[in-house]
């Protein structure tokens, strides 16, 4: 099985990255997953997720966001990623192919 077409393995990997709070990698992998298996709507959404994460990190670096607030925001990102991956899976299983 070609690794790139193993969408179940790839979505599972994203979930694991979220669970271990490695959001930069989770976002990157979700972007690739969406690009490979879904359409424009999800592509726009995952791009916005990435931009939001970048803003949170910038906010932290500039001390504009305290730790707790940043964690709350990151948790929202984590949930958004899980929602996206779940939707891509449903899309794939319903449509039957990318």
């Amino acid at each position: 099985m070609n690794g790139a077409s193993d969408f179940a393995q790839r979505s599972s990997e994203v979930r694991h990255l979220v669970a271990t709070a490695d959001l930069p990698s989770a976002i990157r992998k979700t972007m690739d997953l969406v690009r490979d298996f879904s359409g424009r709507e999800h592509l726009d959404e995952v791009t916005v997720v990435s931009m939001t994460f970048c803003e949170i990190e910038c906010g932290r670096r500039r001390d504009e966001l305290n730790f707790e607030a940043a964690m709350q925001e990151k948790k929202k990102i984590a949930r958004q990623l899980l929602g996206l991956v779940g939707e891509v899976e449903i899309h794939l299983v319903e449509v039957g192919h990318a």
Partner: protein, 419 residues
């Protein structure tokens, strides 16, 4: 977990093992817990809740919080089991697996990975002034695969890359670009140059704003309107360039210049990407990030790319490449799969860094199974019989109290051909 047990027994056994693990003092078993949820949660919301619980546990360092996380895990575990039983989970899990298998099979069937993007046969190029000659060499590049070209300076790496990229005319041989729709006796080199992405070693400065340059690049490749906006935003975010988008070219570090060059190359989703010495002048982190991105992007399912990359960073390339080419004075010493060097050799070869002298090392290695020891610049090269692998050799080195500052198994690596 037993391999041939029923799903009902599986969930009981897995839950029992997980409970025992949670009860044990120490950290939270995030991986096992999320894997359990992934496998047995019928409701995707429960599966995602498990992941979020894992996220919470990962970002908390306090032991009190860990205890709370463990209690929450047990509660969620019970909910997953209850849901599984109430909804006859074994049937649903099995149906889900079948549906996924069918989709996977379909995806696999439609994958373009492995298709030939470039095939060159008998390629040669001679320079009259320097008397240097490249080839003849045969080279095939496939979608989804990365090919690394290694060799010392002025041994033909850039010449080969420029020929493939259509930047340099070859003397003999045939070039085919099935992925670009070019091939046969008359190749439109202008079309080839326009249809593949080439990132030279010396990057030319971008004159306008970085943002506009990317939009322009996408536009001249036929990506217009909302699609242009979407593709540029995506590639910028994917390569982590958002914070730097409003900077000027001259204000960027070497690493970011290269990442912008990569963004420019990838924004129009090329099938063939040629990169000449992209790792030169990058710090270790930037190198690793670049290679990881290349690996992930090349093996895309929908847009697989054939990548040809040259570098002196042999081991870094071997970590991401499917195929390696080793050139010496323009001739091919090796072309083939990564870690495919010397597969028929009767011995293994290792590189060792130690403070010991050659004489001391030889003395201590007596009876260790090492056949030959020689000094090579700042390290030693040890040759052993085939049956002595790196684990066994390392054990024997440690048993003999040999301090190991550096150790590498070069048995199947192109590095073996350099030494």
């Amino acid at each position: 977990m037993p391999e041939h047990s029923s799903p009902e027994a599986d969930i009981e056994t897995a839950a029992q093992a997980l409970r025992a693990e949670i009860d044990r003092e120490g950290g939270v078993p995030i991986r096992d817990f999320t894997q359990f949820a992934e496998r047995f949660a019928i409701d995707p919301k429960l599966r995602d809740e498990a992941v979020v619980l894992g996220f919470d546990a990962s970002v908390t360092a306090e032991s009190a919080d860990t205890a709370v996380a463990c209690r929450e895990m047990i509660t969620l575990l019970d909910r997953i089991i209850l849901d599984y039983r109430q909804r006859h989970g074994e049937r649903l899990v099995s149906e889900r697996a079948q549906r996924y298998d069918a989709v996977q099979e379909n995806l696999q069937h439609r994958s373009r990975a492995g298709e030939v993007a470039f095939a060159g046969l008998g390629i040669t190029k001679a320079y009259a002034k320097s008397l240097f000659k490249l080839g003849a060499l045969d080279l095939t590049l496939r979608l989804g695969e990365i090919t690394g070209v290694v060799g010392q300076n002025a041994h033909g790496k850039t010449t080969l890359l420029r020929i493939v990229a259509g930047e340099l005319r070859h003397d003999e041989g045939t070039l085919d670009y099935p992925a670009l729709g070019e091939g046969g006796s008359r190749i439109d080199r202008m079309h080839v140059k326009e249809s593949l992405a080439y990132v030279p070693q010396e990057l030319l400065p971008w004159r306008g704003s970085l943002r506009n340059t990317l939009h322009f690049e996408a536009a001249i490749r036929g990506i217009r309107g909302a699609e242009n906006e979407r593709e540029v935003r995506f590639v910028v975010e994917r390569l982590g360039l958002g914070e730097h988008l409003d900077m000027r070219w001259n204000a960027l570090s070497g690493g970011y210049k290269l990442r912008f060059a990569l963004a420019r190359a990838l924004v129009w989703k090329p099938r063939l990407l040629v990169m000449d010495e992209p790792l030169a002048n990058l710090d270790i982190k930037a190198k690793n990030v670049l290679l990881q991105d290349l690996r992930e992007l090349a093996s895309s399912y929908r847009y697989p790319i054939a990548v040809l990359i040259s570098s002196h960073e042999l081991h870094a390339l071997e970590a991401v490449c499917e195929q390696m080419v080793f050139l010496r004075q323009g001739e091919v010493v090796y072309i083939g799969p990564t870690q495919g060097v010397a597969v028929d050799e009767a011995n293994n070869e290792f590189e060792l860094g130690t403070r010991l002298s050659l004489a001391e090392l030889r003395q201590r290695l007596r009876g260790s199974g090492v056949i030959k020891v020689r000094e090579e610049h700042t390290a030693f090269v040890l040759t052993t019989a085939r049956e002595i692998g790196h684990q066994l050799l390392l054990r024997r080195l440690l048993e003999r109290e040999i301090d190991v500052e550096y150790f590498r198994d070069n048995s199947r690596s192109v590095r073996r051909l350099f030494l």
